[in-house]
Amino acid sequence: DVNAAADLSTTFVAMADGSSFNVKLYIYDLSKGLARQLSPMMLGEHTSIVVYGEEFFFGGGGIMSCFPGGTILGMSDSTVDLGNTEVPRDLFQEYLSSLRESTYRPEKYHLFEHNCNTFSSEVAQFLTGTKIPSYITDLPSEVLATPFGQALRPFLDSVTITPSGENGMNGYGQW
């Protein structure tokens, strides 16, 4: 009770300081458009975390970022507001760089077990203490539970999904 009050007051203070940043989860439904035409999608959703005016995600190229909606997937299909974080941007960058060297190196990408959603989940936890919707994180294990999924494991071990959205997109604004 008292703790809650303390939390609340801290939050207010933080927001008053202007040192609070909104965190959103972008969810991309990969089953529309081209992807649907060419392949049965195993991983229904790609997610990314949007904070400090940037979109962060994990893919075959490791942890990457671009401006929100700037990947080839365009704007997200749905968004979940994860609340606010006090973590300042430079601290977050440090955090990311640590992740880059450890658990989220590019080669660590695994379509089912350590993918963009894993990353989003972890970052969400770090930033806000909240989890992302469970249906996203549960999807891989559901698929893996099927015999089909199991059969595909060796192949999937090398598949990555990485929306490209690097600096190239930024230059586009000029035109």
């Binding site: 303390a6 929100p68 300042p88 960058q93 936890q125 586009y172």
Partner: protein
Amino acid sequence: MAENSGTDPAVETNTEENAAASATIIKVTVKTPKDKEEIAIAEDSSVAQFKEEISKRFKAKQDQLVLIFAGKILKDGDTLGQHGIKDGLTVHLVIKTDNSCAFKGNTAGTANPSPAGNLGTPQGSGPSPTPTQPPNVLAGFGDLSGLSNLGMGSANFMELQQQMQRQLMSNPEMLSQIMENPLVQSMMSNPDLMRQMIVANPQMQQLMERNPEISHMLNNPELMRQTMELARNPAMMQEMMRNQDRALSNLESIPGGYNALRRMYTDIQEPMFSAAREQFGNNPFSALGGNTDNSGVQPSRTENREPLPNPWGPPDASAATTTTASGTATTTSSTTSSTTPSVSNPLGISSSSLGNGMFNSPGMQSLMQQISENPQLMQNMLSAPYMRTMMQSLAQNPDIASQVFTNNPLFAGNPQLQEQMRQQLPVFLQQMQNPESLSVMTNPRAMRALMQIQEGLQTLQTEAPGLMPSLIPGGMAAGIPGAPLPTGVNVTPENPPPSGPAPAPAPTPTPTPAAGTNTAQQQLMQQMLQMFAGGNALTQTPEVRFQQQLEQLSAMGFINREANLQALIATGGDINAAIERLLGSQPS
């Protein structure tokens, strides 16, 4: 504020001896990006005390530690209780290095002014290719007009590709439209061309070295055709995939089958994946042409899997990526726009008379304009390795090229035009490879000048229609926007069908209302172009132009005048080269 001490006085006294905690000891998991540790700490500790423990465990200085819980930064003066940190919960830790802001890593520039604060809104990522645009953009020539609306002005060709992909991603119809584009289809239906393009890629070559089966596959025209058939037909592909999946599951049940699959995968597919991924980067179609492995499993896997990773290939997909479909699309667009100078005349001849209203579209015009405005673009386009590969393949194989172009709907209703195209093709191809013409195309001033010339001609046409008396059918010379102009240089003299003698005003294949003025314009253009070309003979037909060379050839014993002429045209009047051609073609 919560009381720091335990609420129970009895407990208080108990723990007087115990310095560790006055309340319960809780185990808090401290998680860094790299690892995590469980730390036992008193529930009522302050954050500073907590950090002390942490610094011992993690061997870091206390002031390097930043603790985060529930999105909040834990300040030294706070208490754990204040933040609701209880037993079993996880606290995040970041150990600050000296230069905390220094890393660049993979992220895009952290300073990104435009979307600052616009978390949900920026459509700036796709100013042109918003979903609403594709419908009008994709009417007809699909890729080409799509490109123009995609903002071909983007300086970076890579961006172009990416935009292309984005369009593809958001609009499934675009895919089928591209596939339906006869140009693309004819490209894909030509196994040799495909093969050449694939083989030209160095990574593919590596792959082929390691796995000779692949080169067998590639060399098997039947299989190639099948695969491309597959690529063209999504429904068929899915059917095939289903079959393959069934086959796969059967395979698995065979003893040792699973291992065989696995082996197949690791030996062949994996390098193929990586090669394809690197090479083809972001394009879903590329792999379709590139994965021709025969085993029952692979095609389904590749066609199944490749589209998954490829659309979002590794971010380091360089401009050197060869993409068949998008590359084809872009190359065809550029090739088409370049080889059909007349056809693409946005200012003069009505292209509807040529059977395709597309090129008259504002898209096309803006395309041309952008090309001339943005030399970098042309340069990028032309220098893209796959473009060169394409050109080489085409040049080596004029038949393919002519096939491709004649299948182009633009020429469909116009056999005369086709004829001319065929004539010009070798010359054109040569020219495209001619660094000089390339440099002209990339020279902004030159392009602008050419545009000006064109505009001037237009004005002239309207102002003084009677100025230029006549001729030159074929409408090839007229209205050549920017890039194709240099090619038009050598092209136009061959304009009149080889059968017709020069002066005969053969009926233009472009029955425009202003036929007279058009031809006038054309002739003017032609003359200018000839001057531009550095003074070729002013006469029109190749026959006349190469009169001297023809005589020489026949004196040498090459009596086939037609063949001589062809050879001369192809080599641009170079006798020696023409002789080689003639000699080379004789056995066949």
